[in-house]
C-alpha cells in the first residue's frame, strides 16, 4: 500500500474518526505490523498537542467535588478485564482486536463456500458496511469484482497477489470502484483476509455478472 495512504488511515485511527469495521481493520494491522506503530504514535501525540492548545471550556465550579464523590463511591479497579479468549487449537491466531468480535474463533463462524474460497460475514452492527473473513485455498482466485464504495482488505495469514502487487500478513489494500482487480492466493498456502466493503460488490465475471442484481454478497 502507498505509504501516504497508510499514513492517512493511521491518522484517521489516531483521531478516532474511522467507522467501526475500518477501525477494527487498522487496529489489527497495528497488532501485526510493529513498524506502523511509531507513525501511529506520532499521530496520537498530535492529538495530545492539539488538546493542549484547544480553547478551554470552563467546567462547572463543583465539577471536581462531584468527581471526588464519585471516585470515593467507586472503589477498586474500574472493570474486570475481559477474560482472555483462547484461540481454538489448530486455527490461525487472530489479532485480539478482531478476536473480540469472533469470540469462538474462526471455527465458530458460519462459513459459506464459493468454489475454492469461503466467506463468513461478521456482524458488527455497522450499517453501510459489510465485514467478512475470506479464506482462499492455495492458488485460488478470490472473487473477481469491482465495487462502488471502498474496499479495504487486511491479510491475516498467507498472501495474495493482484494487478497492484503482493499482499502478505498485516498488509492492507485499499481499493475503490476504479480498481477491477483479481486477487489470487499464492500457490503454497491458503490465504485468510479480513475485508470491509462500504457498498455491495458488483460482480464482473462473465457468468457472475448475470447474477449481480440477485446476489447480495
Amino acid at each position: 500500500m502507498n505509504p501516504s495512504t497508510l499514513d492517512e488511515l493511521l491518522l484517521a485511527h489516531a483521531a478516532g474518526r474511522l467507522p467501526l469495521p475500518v477501525d477494527l481493520l487498522v487496529a489489527s494491522h497495528l497488532t501485526l505490523r510493529p513498524e506502523s506503530r511509531p507513525a501511529h504514535a506520532v499521530f496520537e501525540q498530535l492529538g495530545g498537542a492539539l488538546l493542549e492548545e484547544i480553547d478551554p471550556e470552563p467546567l462547572d465550579p463543583k465539577a471536581f467535588e462531584r468527581l471526588r464523590d464519585r471516585l470515593d463511591r467507586e472503589t477498586g479497579p474500574e472493570e474486570a478485564p475481559a477474560p482472555p479468549v483462547e484461540p481454538s487449537a489448530g486455527a490461525p491466531a487472530l489479532p485480539a482486536p478482531l478476536l473480540a468480535y469472533v469470540p469462538e474463533g474462526i471455527g465458530g463462524l458460519r462459513w459459506r463456500r464459493y468454489g475454492r474460497i469461503a466467506e463468513a460475514v461478521l456482524d458488527l452492527g455497522s450499517p453501510g458496511f459489510t465485514t467478512r473473513l475470506v479464506r482462499a485455498e492455495p492458488g485460488a482466485a478470490l472473487f473477481r469484482h469491482t465495487h462502488e464504495g471502498l474496499e479495504a482488505t487486511l491479510v491475516l495469514e498467507g498472501a495474495y497477489r493482484d494487478g497492484t502487487g503482493r499482499y502478505g500478513p498485516g498488509d492492507i489494500e485499499l481499493a475503490d470502484g476504479a480498481v477491477d482487480h483479481r486477487p489470487t492466493a499464492e500457490p503454497d498456502a491458503p490465504c485468510l483476509c479480513l475485508t470491509v466493503t462500504s457498498a455491495p460488490l458488483r460482480l464482473t465475471g462473465r457468468f457472475l455478472r448475470f447474477l449481480n442484481p440477485f446476489v447480495r454478497l
Partner: protein, 202 residues
Amino acid sequence: MGLVHPRVRGLNGEVKPPERPNADTLLADMRAVAERGDWVAFNRLFTFYGERVKAYLRHSGVDDAAAEDLTQDVFSVVWRRAGQFDPRQGALATWIFTIARNRRIDVLRRERRPAPDPTDPVLAPEAPIQGDAAVEAEEMKERIKSAVADLPPEQADLLRAFYFDDKTHVGIADEFGLPLGTVKSRLRLALAKLRVILGRER
C-alpha cells in the same frame, strides 16, 4: 465554537490568561496521583486538562451537561488507571487525549473500540524502549505543537477540524466552504509537512 478563554486580572490590572502549569509540574502531579492517590495533584491536573477535555468533547456535538458528565468519566479513568500511564509511551496530554477520544467513540458508536491490545499473544514484539524515552515523549509532543504552529493556518485549521469535529470530509468541506478535493489535498499537505518537520518519525 467561540469559547472564551477564562481570564484573570494581573497585579497592575491588565487582563491575562491564567498561568499555565509547565509540563514538569503536570508530570509530577501525575506521578503523585499514581503513587499515592494525591487529591491535590489530581485537582491540578483536572483543572488544567478538564477544561480542555470538555472543549474537545463539546466539539463532537454533545451539549454542555453531557460534556460535563463525559469529562467526569474521562477523569475517573485517569484516576483509576493512573498506575498504567507510561511516560515513555507518550506525553501526558497524549494519554489523556486517547482516553477522551475512546470515550467519545464509545458515545458516538455505543460500542467499545477495538483497541490494539498490548497483551495480545499475536502482537509482534515492540522494540525495547530506550533510556530517556519519557523526556523524549514530552519533547516530541512539544515539537509537534510547534510544527502545527508553523503550518499555514488553513492547514492547521483543517487538522484541528479533522481531530475535533465529528464531521465527514464532506462536512468539513462545507464548513470551510471548500471543495472536497481541496480538503483532502490540504490534509495531505499538512501531513507531508509534519513528516518533514518531524524528521520522518517512522
